[in-house]
Amino acid sequence: MTNKDDEINKTIHNLCGELKPMGCFNPNWRAALWIILVLTYTVAVATTIGFRENIAHAMNRGEFVFELLLAFGTGITAGLVTFWLTIPDCERYKKFIAVPVTLLAVQLVWMFDRLYFEGMGDIRENWLSHCWMNTALYTTVPIFAVVLLVKKGATVMPCALASFAVLSVSEFNWIGMRLVCPKDNVGEAYFLNFLPYVVIGLLAGFLAKKLFRW
């Protein structure tokens, strides 16, 4: 036996010595836990900030409900994909990646369609103040929760995982913003309330490999 063989044998001995009974990591349970947590949190924050005054009127508008449902579908599926990517043999789940990506594409087409026909609309002057504060409030807990829950896993696709985590967090919190922000024009709803998530996404992209290293 060579030195390298000895080293491998020693490694195996050491690893066997460190072995302890362990609970199985179930990505579905974690995804369910995270989705329940983020939904509860989003509703709680919206209630605390206060729902928009025209919420009843907005809920009667078909396109508003469509936007919310589209964001909800994207958020749920992106959340599930995020947790499915936390296990090494995630190959079998890769086909589901098409679902949130397709929903996101529909959302972008919808946004550009509205931008083309309606224009940007009025954007308030003090846009940097409460909108971004609300966004920060909406995102903090979900981001910490998803990082904590995901770090227990062992991903072999850290960048894709981070992307879907950001997408999921963004969608849920965009729904939260729609519940509290009375303005639905493209400028406010899609650009102003969307930009913070782009920033978060970029940061997450840079940090993904270090954050989810194992």
């Binding site: 036996m1 390298k4 063989d5 080293e7 491998i8 044998n9 490694t11 195996i12 001995h13 690893l15 066997c16 010595g17 460190e18 072995l19 302890k20 009974p21 362990m22 609970g23 199985c24 990591f25 179930n26 936390t86 296990i87 090494p88 043999d89 995630c90 190959e91 896993g153 062992a154 072999v156 194992w214």
Partner: protein, 208 residues
């Protein structure tokens, strides 16, 4: 397969524990049956059975090694990555679901660690480094053709004006930067570049 198992069992019994090479005895992955064995071993390992874990780790080493040997150049590197994969299997064992095949889970980790290694290797320009033991330099002293070429280059260099010769020696032979050559010769940096360019032109004409 049954016969092979018997052979391994008899080999196993004939070796004392300290002599036993842990990973070479069990057979490499050959069939779905092997995967089922691994699934059972992994399940036992998850419940804390270290004997099953030892058997599992021992039996996957040849499989990992064979998978890595297709894309990594030397056995030393392969063994290093095998150890990385074993550590990763240990860290990620809780993510394995015993009702799923074991091999795809293992291969995903192996591939991830191999990519990790190659990324670091290329980032550190490891592919462009050669260890001092393996340097393959031509023997200029004993090779008459090379010696003649060197003499031609030396003659061409001697024929250059003094300033150009000095710049070529400092910049191309001793490896100084343009700024350092500028400080040593008192020429400006752009003058050093122009001198070097002219010297190379002359050398090219003489050696053509």
């Amino acid at each position: 397969m049954g016969l092979r198992c018997d052979v391994y069992k008899s080999m196993d019994a004939s070796l004392s524990f300290s002599q036993k090479p842990l990973y070479s005895l069990p057979m490499a992955y050959q069939s779905e049956e092997q995967d089922i064995v691994w699934q059972q071993l992994a399940k036992k390992a998850q419940s804390g059975d270290s004997a099953a874990y030892r058997e599992l780790l021992g039996s996957i080493v040849p499989v990992i090694r064979r998978s890595l040997s297709r894309s990594l150049p030397s056995s030393d590197i392969i063994d290093d990555v095998v150890q990385e994969v074993l550590l990763s299997v240990h860290k990620a064992l809780h993510t394995y679901s015993a009702d799923r095949p074991f091999l795809p889970w293992l291969m995903a980790i192996t591939s991830f660690r191999r990519t990790d290694y190659l990324r670091q290797h290329y980032a550190a320009r490891g592919n462009k480094q050669v260890s001092l033991e393996n340097v393959d330099l031509p023997d200029y002293l004993n090779n008459s053709e090379s010696a003649a070429q060197i003499k031609d280059v030396e003659k061409a260099l001697d024929s250059l004006p003094e300033k150009q010769k000095e710049v070529v020696e400092l910049l191309k032979i001793k490896g100084y930067s343009t700024r350092e050559v500028s400080e040593k010769t008192g020429l400006s940096e752009s003058a050093v570049k122009v001198t070097m360019h002219r010297a190379l032109q002359k050398l090219k004409e003489k050696l053509a």
